[in-house]
Subunit: 245 residues, 2 copies
DNA sequence: CGATTTGTTGACTAATATCAAACTGTGTGG
DNA sequence: CCACACAGTTTGATATTAGTCAACAAATCG
C-alpha cells in the first residue's frame, strides 16, 4: 500500500475528497523512516522543515514543565499528521515521540505548500484536520479538568477506539496500544500508582483490560458510559461513523 | 475605529500582512451586535453561519459534561475570533458566552470563504490563528494536568496579560478582566473555595490581586515564576513582543 | 542469564473538594 | 433613603481523592 493511502483514508473520514484531490495527495513525495519505540521524533524548540505522517505505530505529543513534570497532550495513530501545525508555527512548542516502533512518512513543507496552493479542497481538508486536533485538545482539557480518575481513563480509551475505528484498527473491541501505565499517568494527570489501581478496578468489574500492548474493551457500553463519551467532538463524517456499526 | 482594525492588529501580531491584505480584511462586511454579560453567543450543537469577532469585552468557551460540571476552555479578548473553527467544523462542540458586556462583530462564513479564496496570505494568517488557538489549548492541558492550584492561577493570568499586551490592553501591569471566582474555578478545574484561598494567599504575599473586574499584577516577576510561564507557545512575532518592553 | 523497566502493594500524607453558613457589596423597588 | 434581594466572596469544619514513598514482583531485553 502506498504510504499516503492511510492519510487519504483519514482525510476522507473527515471531509469529502474527489478522486483528483486524492490523487494530488498520493503524488506527494514521502520520505519513509522507521524508528524504534521511545524515539523523540521532533523536540520542543525545533524548526522542522517537514511534517510527519504516521503510517504504522503510535506516537504521543508531550510537554515538560519547568518543574520536570511531563504532560502528554495527545496520542496519535496511523493516518495522523501530529506536527502539521509546523507548516505555520515554525517553532515546536512540545515534543513528538514514538511510543512504539513506528513507520513515519516525512512530507516536506515545500511540497505541502505547493499542494495547498493548487488544491483548495485539500487545503481545506488539512485545515479541518488541524481544527479537529484542537477539538480533541478541548475535550482533553475537560478530561483532566473535571473528570475523576476512572472517567478519565475510560474516556481516553473510548476516544482512541473511536479514532482507530475510522482507520480500521479495531477488531472485536480490541486494539493494539503499546502504552505503559506511567505514560497513561502522564496523559491523565495522575500518578502511576493511581492509574494502576483504577485499571485493576476496571479489570475486576469486567469493564476493560490493558495487557501487553493490547486494550480490550470487555464491556464497551460501560467504557463509554464511565467516560461520559460523546464522539461528536471528533467531527467525523457519517461515512466514518458507519464503520462503527 | 473600524471594527476590523482590532482583528488586523491581532493578525499582525502573529503574521506579517501587506497593506493590501489588511485592506481585504477591512473590506469584510461586519454585523455589529452588543450583548450584555452572561449572554450565550453560540451554543454546543449550533451550526452558525457566521463567526464572531470580539471587538470589546470578554468571552469564554466552555463545555458542560453529562454530570453537569462545567469546564471553561479558554478566555477570549478583543481581536479574537473564538469560533473561527466553525468555518470548517459545522457543529459547535462547546458553548461561547460573554462574561462581560461585549461588542461583537459577526462575519458571514460566505464572506470569509471569499476572502480566503482570494487572499492566500490572509487565509494562512487565519489558519495560523486557529493553530495558535490549539497551542493555547495544549498549554491549558498542562495547566490543569500537572500544575498545582496556585501555579494554575498564576499561569492563567500571565497568559492573559501576554495576550492583552499584544492588543494594548495592559497598563501598569493592570488589566480589566471581569471574571468571578466561580468562573476561575471552572477554568482551572478547582472549587471556588479553593480559588478563593489561593487568591488570598497571593494577595497576602503581594503577588497579585483581583478586585472588581481589575487584575493587578503587583509583582509580575513572581506571577510569571509562580505560573512557570514561557510565552513561546503563543507564537507571537517579535513585533508583538516588543510591545512588552 | 542478569539488568532494567514495568507493574503491584501497603502505609501514610497532602491537596483539594464538599458542605454549610455568614458576610459584603450593589442595585432595586417601595 | 431604606430594606431587601441577589450575586459574589469569605470562613470553618470535615471528607475524599489522589499523591508520595518504599518495597517487592513480574515481565522484558540485551
Amino acid at each position: 500500500m502506498h504510504p499516503t493511502e492511510i492519510l487519504i483514508r483519514k482525510l476522507r473520514s473527515d471531509t469529502h475528497l474527489s478522486d483528483e484531490d486524492a490523487a494530488s495527495v498520493r503524488a506527494l513525495p514521502v520520505h519513509i523512516r522507521e524508528v524504534p519505540a521511545d524515539t523523540t521524533i521532533v523536540q520542543q524548540g525545533d524548526h522542522p522543515k517537514s511534517s510527519c505522517l504516521i503510517i504504522k505505530g503510535f506516537t504521543a505529543r508531550a510537554k515538560v514543565t519547568e518543574t520536570g513534570r511531563r504532560q502528554i497532550l495527545a496520542f496519535h495513530i496511523p493516518g495522523d499528521v501530529p506536527d502539521l501545525q509546523t507548516l505555520f508555527l515554525k517553532t515546536m512548542d512540545h515534543d513528538l515521540l514514538a511510543i512504539s516502533d513506528a513507520t513515519l512518512g516525512f512530507i516536506d513543507h515545500a511540497d505541502l505548500f505547493r499542494l495547498i496552493d493548487t488544491r483548495r479542497t485539500v487545503a481545506r481538508a488539512l485545515w479541518r484536520e488541524t481544527l479537529i486536533d484542537a477539538a480533541v485538545f478541548r475535550e482533553w482539557i475537560v478530561n483532566v479538568g473535571v473528570r475523576d480518575a476512572s472517567s478519565r481513563l475510560a474516556h481516553l480509551l473510548a476516544e482512541l477506539r473511536q479514532r482507530l475505528l475510522a482507520v480500521g484498527l479495531v477488531a472485536d473491541e480490541e486494539f493494539q496500544f503499546p502504552v505503559t501505565q506511567s505514560e497513561l499517568a502522564d496523559a491523565l494527570g495522575l500518578s502511576t500508582v493511581h492509574v494502576n489501581r483504577v485499571l485493576q478496578a476496571f479489570r475486576a468489574q469486567g469493564v476493560l483490560d490493558i495487557r501487553k500492548n493490547l486494550v480490550t474493551l470487555v464491556d464497551v457500553g460501560k467504557v463509554l458510559a464511565a467516560g461520559g463519551f460523546d464522539p461528536m467532538y471528533l467531527h467525523q463524517t457519517s461515512t466514518a461513523l458507519r464503520h462503527e456499526a
